[in-house]
Amino acid sequence: MIFYPLGKYILLLKAAFRRPEKWNIYRKEIFKEMVSIGVGSVWIISIISVFLGMVTTVQTAYQLVSDFIPKSIIGMIVRDSSILELSPTISAIVLAGKVGSSVASQIGTMRVTEQIDALEIMGINSPGYLILPKMIAAIITIPLLVIISIGLSIWGGYIAGTLSGAVTQNEFILGATDGFRGFTITVSMVKAVIFAFIITSVSAYQGFYTSGGALEVGISSTRAVVVSCIMILFADYVVAQLLL
């Protein structure tokens, strides 16, 4: 049951990675998609990241009831959870909703209105032209969004901690800088790249094989978000298990 769609997905990816007809056209598409996927998502990622950091600080402080544990640990927990889990994974899930649904509905609409057929008649490799630029753009911009998210999440935690009095400025900064391991950033970036690939490829697959009309485009779009989210969480576990 799973093998048929998996095979189709692999064949679609194989076609998407075929040599482009003209690199300069693809380059323009990549830049266009980078604006759409990256710049277009900065605002939403920024907002959720600040709140994620704030909530993490407040809830960690609530659970720290022992006087033997220094308050600076709050900064450390906010830092590590933002880098390792919250920023890459929550950002990816939000982007699966925003970017994934957009990719699936865009490609799905092109399918049902025969625009993909028109590309193929012209002799253009439609998976390559439609999917590859989106994948490359996402793989470049989503890690950058995750870096922004990490910074804003830690900042949000700092603001919430100091404003509420749960932790002092110095304690938070001490905790956020103490025992920092650069490898956690590597893990975060590996996750971001894998999630970017999942979001664009799964959504493009759902859109590319849409058949019917407007209703089916909507169904494909919803399915793209659901499948992407499940795949992101599965990949999150696999990466954590392998790298940590």
Binding site: K22, I25, M110, E114, Q115, E120, I121, M122, I124
Partner: protein, 250 residues
């Protein structure tokens, strides 16, 4: 010339094309007609490679398209122009960008040369000055004409047209038919039109094949239709009272 030999196509249990063979001649309007579900669009899609026939071959001037791989097909596809039923214009692009798209993809011309070609094609379909409009701003007839301009931008040897008159008023339909006819004669291209519009059949049908239940039931020109003894063809062509009256006058 395009030859099709013994084309068979099934979708699951549904046997759509049952061994169709024919020849589509250069400089002529070759029409594929038939009722809904008779297999005419499937045949067209098999000819251009959007569907793979289960059996049989499609031969473009001696080149067997069905036996070619993806890369080899690209060379033939560069010689193909197609107008889709829904026009299939790229929504995110202006009229100019739509018509210029194949030129951008497959030529190394300078922008000025490409723009000249786009303007020539738009002028040819009577859409001069509409370069900056988006498909959403065009009427159905204008979309079809932009589709034709895009199809001829690469100077194709073969033009495929799927239901050119669907959704158009009779007057606009005649304009589109005349345009297809003029382009075919002017550039001596092999044009294949799928239609069930009787005005098109009588107006531009130089060579017609009639499909019935996935088989070729009849072949001839528009002048031969009235003399045909095929019951299925007569039932199809002269279904309306208007056409019956026209036949009686003939």
């Amino acid at each position: 010339m395009i030859e099709i030999k013994n084309i068979h196509k099934t979708f699951g249990e549904n046997y759509v094309l049952k061994g169709i063979s024919s020849e589509f001649k250069e400089g002529m309007n070759n029409l594929i007609i038939g009722g809904s579900g008779s297999g005419k669009t499937t045949l067209l899609k098999c000819m251009v490679g959007l569907h793979e026939p289960d059996e049989g071959s499609v031969i473009y001037d001696g080149r067997d398209f069905t036996r070619m791989n993806f890369e080899e097909r690209i060379e033939i596809r560069k010689e193909i122009g197609m107008l889709f039923q829904s026009s299939a214009l790229f929504d995110s692009m202006t009229v100019e960008e739509n018509v210029m798209f194949p030129l951008n993809m497959f030529t190394n011309q300078k922008r000025k040369e490409k723009l000249d070609r786009v303007n020539f094609c738009l002028e040819r379909v009577n859409l001069t000055g509409k370069n900056k409009l988006f498909p959403a701003e065009l009427s159905g007839g204008m979309k079809k004409r932009v589709g034709i301009a895009r199809a001829i931008s690469m100077q194709p040897r073969y033009l495929f047209v799927d239901e050119p008159n669907s959704g158009l008023d009779p007057k606009t339909s005649i304009v589109i038919d005349e345009l297809i006819n003029e382009i075919t004669e002017e550039y001596k291209i092999t044009t294949v039109v799928v239609t069930h519009d009787m005005n098109s059949v009588m107006g531009i049908g130089d060579n017609i094949i009639f499909l019935y239940n996935g088989k070729k039931e009849w072949e001839g020109s528009n002048k031969d239709i009235a003399r045909s003894e095929s019951k299925e063809l007569n039932d199809f062509v002269f279904a309306s009272r208007f056409m019956q009256a026209a036949k009686e006058k003939l």
